[in-house]
Amino acid sequence: MTHTDHWGGGNYKKNHSNTGDKKSNVDRKSYNKTRVNHWTSEWDKGRFIFNKNGKIIN
């Protein structure tokens, strides 16, 4: 199967049943809290440590 056969012309959804196209039913308030907590945690872990020149260290 070529790349086009796999992904193209709507074939991907025909070839895979788990493409995940359900409408969102997420609770946006809960989502926002989760997202904020995630980024805060990543910040606290040092993901965005940078030097005085603004260059990222990690």
Partner: protein, 131 residues
């Protein structure tokens, strides 16, 4: 400026989902396991790409600075522009998820990968690694 928000469930394991959010400034995809974010990846900047890296905690999620951006794609307008390929392990846990936008491979998410991988960055950074 336009915003976008959509959740895509993994039909092979409903515990997993991907949420793609464009908040009119920047777009990210998040891999969820239940209600916990287990992976994230920057997708594109909708606001002007910053020339310098100014990382203030209050500004999260961040725009990706110019030094990292190779290709800044157009914002997502509709969920039909998005195709996900879920790859599962034998135990049905998610191995990785590929994200295509308008038929172009853009990003890869995996559990524990913060950040994940992107075809739109020129070098590894805190928001994306090179795919």
């Amino acid at each position: 400026m336009s915003d976008f928000f959509c959740q895509f469930h993994c039909r092979g394991n409903e515990e997993y989902s991907v949420i793609i959010e464009d908040n009119e400034l920047v777009a990210y995809a998040y891999l969820y396991k239940g209600e916990i974010i287990v992976g994230d990846i920057w997708l594109y900047n909708q606001a002007s790409t910053p020339v310098t890296s100014e990382w203030n905690k209050e500004d999260m999620p961040f725009l990706n600075p110019l030094e990292f951006v190779k290709n800044n794609i157009e914002p997502i307008k509709d969920k039909n522009e998005i195709a996900l390929k879920w790859v599962l392990k034998k135990d049905k846990e998610v191995d990785y998820v590929l994200i295509k936008i308008r038929k172009e491979l853009i990003a890869k998410l995996s559990e524990g990968a913060t950040p994940g991988w992107s075809t739109c960055v020129i070098k590894d950074g805190p928001l994306a690694k090179v795919l």
